[in-house]
């Protein structure tokens, strides 16, 4: 199965402000092997792929193709060397035909006039090789995601790809489509292509991979034949980390009946039959990999989306929020994961962002009373300890941690009983993280029901009183007390 190394990464390091995304990583892809790349969210898999694709330059280290050091200055260089990455977000042009997409950028032409016969012929041949039975003249927008993926593979073949990297190719496929994909992967492997297979589904990795590389926090933890490690050992390699946060214990046991209850909540295709209970004074962690449906659950709880099925109750009353504004009015606040996209209005000032949800309170007859608004905003940013507590700065000029505090301050002004935090500390430095943890705990101790979604296991373990795990849209476990370990959560998340 193994041949010559087609592609090697040696000591590849990639730094971003405040983070080392890749730290001296080695990777070797041989002809005729499937090399799986696994790791938690944020372990560095995507950055590694971007380096392979020439989309990102390493700060240190080198990339070798056929033993020769190369410097990819852009994706075109990587393609010319036969290295192709197929991203999870497919990159086809929907309104062009299959053949046009396959030849996009390398159209055969005679004195500037497209050689359409050659395109059709070559495309048909490539489609045959990947086993996709569609006409080269069909529009890509008519194809399913699985078929589009095959078109991307055909495109790679036409470009003589010798190394093909697939970024979570199964994430959007049905089980049957996954089987077909793996058949194609096997064929390509037999033809001598080197394949990089990025996934966090261990069962799939088992089915196709010859060798496995485990990444954790930007470092390569282990590389070896797939048969050398069982699932438990791989999970341990993925989660065993050095970062620890001080545990934030609850002041007392949760009190009273559930404040927010969801039963059999379903929104296809994101998640099915999810049941949750949030009590006052309690922090519930919602764990799972990216794409497991965590954010979607929170968005339904807060009225940003409607459920297909299932019931929600708030304080014992039926709860069917029609919009986030509606949920807010009943005391349920959602703190979105992507602050820049969903949380802040960057051009508005801190004051304006903080009071956005409750402006009505300061605007009798629709006219904003600036003095009252500013006093309330100052009190709110003091409560979240915004430093410096300037309320007239545009929100976009704040650091990530301060932006998150502004979003939290806005939620607090709503005087909410239920707080749903989605990745509350993403992009926040370590010191600010621990502080945000303390604040979230203080909010729960103050009698609120809190749900925290986080991809960072140490964060969940430090913060949550119990953890609910989602895997591919299904609830695969509820754990609390001593059973709450990183290994247990990860096992439920990848192979529940």
């Amino acid at each position: 199965m193994t041949g010559l190394p087609l592609l090697e990464l040696r000591g590849v390091t990639r730094r971003f402000p405040g983070v080392t995304a890749l730290d001296a990583v080695d990777l070797e892809v041989r002809a005729g092997e499937v090399h799986a790349l696994i790791g938690e969210n944020g372990a560095g898999k995507s950055t590694l792929l971007r380096v392979l694709a020439g989309a990102s330059l390493p700060d240190e280290g080198e990339v070798r193709v056929d033993g020769e050091a190369v410097a990819f200055r852009g994706p075109a260089d990587a393609l010319a060397r036969g290295v192709t990455v197929i991203y999870q977000e497919l990159t086809l042009v929907p309104h062009l035909t299959v053949a046009q997409n396959i030849y996009l950028g390398i159209e055969p032409a005679r004195s500037g006039i497209l050689d359409r016969a050659a395109m059709r012929h070559g495309a048909a041949e490539a489609l045959e090789q990947v086993g996709l039975r569609v006409q080269p003249g069909s529009l890509v927008s008519r194809l399913s995601v699985a078929q589009q993926q095959m078109v991307e593979m055909a495109r790679a073949l036409v470009r003589n790809a010798r190394v093909l990297a697939l970024d979570e190719p199964t994430a959007t496929l049905t089980p049957h489509e996954v089987d077909r994909l793996f058949e194609r992967v096997d064929l390509l492997r037999e033809a001598g292509t080197g394949i990089v297979f990025v996934s966090h589904r261990l069962d799939e990795v088992r089915r196709v991979a010859d060798r496995i590389t485990v990444l954790r926090d930007g470092e390569r933890v282990w590389t070896g034949p797939a048969a050398d490690r069982d699932d438990a050992a791989l999970v341990r390699a993925m989660v065993g980390r050095d970062v620890e946060y001080p545990r934030q214990p609850a002041a007392g046991p949760p009190s009273g009946p559930p404040l927010l209850e969801a039963e059999g909540l379903t929104r296809e295709p994101a998640f099915r039959d999810v049941s949750l209970k949030l009590r006052r004074g309690e922090i519930v962690g919602l764990a799972g990999l990216v794409g497991a449906g965590r954010t979607e659950v929170a968005r339904v709880l807060t009225g940003a989306e409607r459920p297909d099925r299932g019931r929600m109750r708030l304080d014992g009353e039926p709860f069917r929020p029609r919009s986030p504004g509606d949920a807010l009015g009943r005391g349920v606040v959602y703190f979105p994961e992507d602050r820049k996209r969903d949380g802040l209005v960057p051009r508005l000032t801190v004051r304006e962002n903080v009071t956005l949800s409750v402006l009505r309170r300061f605007s009798p007859f629709g006219v904003v009373r600036r003095g009252a608004e500013a006093r309330a905003a100052r009190a709110a940013v003091a409560e979240v300890d915004l430093r410096p507590p300037e309320i007239e700065r545009p929100a976009r000029t704040l650091s990530g941690g301060n932006q998150q505090k502004v979003v939290v301050a806005r939620g607090l002004m709503a005087e909410a009983g239920v707080l749903l935090f989605d990745e509350p500390t993403r992009g926040v430095d370590i010191g600010a993280k621990a502080e945000l943890h303390r604040q979230i705990r203080a909010l729960a101790d103050g009698g609120r029901a809190v749900l925290v979604i986080s991809s960072e296991l140490p964060e969940l373990l430090a913060l949550a009183d119990r953890v609910v795990v989602l895997r591919e849209g299904r609830l695969t476990g509820r754990i609390s007390g001593d059973a709450m370990t990183a290994e247990r959560v990860m096992a439920l998340a990848v192979a529940g």
């Binding site: 807060t302 940003a304 919009s323 986030p324 504004g325 807010l328 009015g329 959602y334 979105p336 996209r341 969903d342 949380g343 802040l344 209005v345 960057p346 051009r347 508005l348 304006e352 956005l356 949800s357 402006l359 009505r360 605007s363 629709g366 006219v367 904003v368 600036r370 545009p394 976009r396 000029t397 806005r410 709503a414």
Partner: protein, 344 residues
């Protein structure tokens, strides 16, 4: 450092450009800097200024309203028909008919605006396409209603000649009237006063009311606003209704001034209004723009046209220079944004 400078320029740059242009014109253009001419400039600018204030509301939400010129045409012919309606005039008198005509103009404008807003907010249709459609439909409706001929001054043979002229005269007090002001021999034009009042009102609504805050929030980040509980759809409905109502009001003033409502009135006015709003600092990407800026933008175009007029420059050159100003404003916008967004 560079951020604060470009922020300052972003805010006051257009105002400075206007001041500079006025200075240059005062020195270099004979007859420009007189009280009479300056009030003429204000009068000429008033329709575009009013449209630009409404347009600014829409543009701040990252929308666009192409229908305002056609609304001026449609509302105008309906206003003219109302104020020359013999039955209405004999029942309510010229003053009463004028009041009804004003209401008709504003209501027609707001009505078309509500259609625009409903399609954008509730059906999720692209604003450019929605308002392109209503622009075409309103123009067609205006021509259909009039048979393509202006409605206005009656022929001598008209049995209600005196009555209709009285109606038009009453409306003319609004559109062509002048308030006596000491020091201004011909008085201050009413349309310019209406424009200034509307700028002040628009400025107040945008800067000081809950609705105004929501307009900036929706334009600055629609999804974040929705998640924060801002009634995004109602805000969008509102801004298009405001823009339409402004166009209706502009139509009333135009008909009053000309004593006639033509189906082709207001042709391409939407483009002048967009130009004024953008020159005045509104960003087509949303989140930025003020009513005062719209006024400054409209004045900048107006002063330029007036100066070139006085210098006897061909109209074609005026168009070319107006285009140049628009280009300069957009380049300025790109340039200051590049400076100020680097930190965010």
């Amino acid at each position: 450092m560079s951020r604060s400078r470009s922020g300052w320029l972003e805010r006051y740059g257009v105002g400075l450009a206007l001041v500079a242009l006025v200075l240059v014109a005062s020195i270099g253009v004979p007859g420009f800097f007189s009280r009479g001419n300056l009030t003429t400039v204000l009068l000429h600018v008033s329709v575009n200024g009013i449209l630009a204030v409404g347009m600014t509301f829409v543009i701040v939400t990252a929308g666009i309203d192409l229908s305002v010129g056609s609304i001026v045409g449609l509302a105008g012919v309906l206003v003219a028909a109302t104020v020359t309606d013999a039955g209405l005039l004999s029942a309510l008198g010229p003053g009463g008919a004028t009041a009804v005509a004003v209401a008709v103009g504003v209501a027609v404008g707001a009505g078309v605006g509500l259609v625009n807003g409903a399609a954008v907010a509730y059906l999720g249709v692209n604003p450019f396409m929605v308002t392109l459609a209503t622009m075409t439909m309103a123009r067609g409706a205006a021509r259909l209603f009039t048979g393509g001929v202006p409605i206005g001054f009656p022929p001598q043979s008209d049995p209600h000649f005196d009555l209709k002229v009285a109606g038009l005269d009453a409306l003319h007090a609004l559109g062509g009237g002048r308030l006596p002001v000491p020091g201004l021999p011909r008085g201050f034009p009413v349309p310019a006063l209406v424009m200034l009042a509307l700028v002040a009102l628009g400025g107040f609504v945008l800067a000081r009311t809950r609705f105004g805050r929501h307009v900036y929030a929706v334009g600055g980040n629609e999804e974040a606003s929705r998640l924060a509980g801002v009634p995004v759809r109602r805000v969008k409905l509102g801004v298009y209704a405001i823009s339409g109502a402004c166009a209706g009001l502009a139509a009333v003033l135009m008909v009053g001034q000309l004593r006639s409502g033509g189906p082709d009135a207001g042709l391409l006015y939407e483009l002048n209004a967009i130009a004024a709003a953008v020159i005045g600092g509104a960003s087509l990407f949303g989140g930025l723009g003020t009513a005062w800026g719209a006024l400054v933008g409209a004045l900048l175009i107006g002063v330029l046209n007036n100066s070139l007029d006085l210098l006897g420059v061909q109209a074609f050159w005026q168009e070319i220079s107006k285009g140049g100003i628009i280009l300069a404003a957009v380049l300025f916008d790109v340039w200051t944004k590049r400076g100020s967004d680097a930190g965010g």
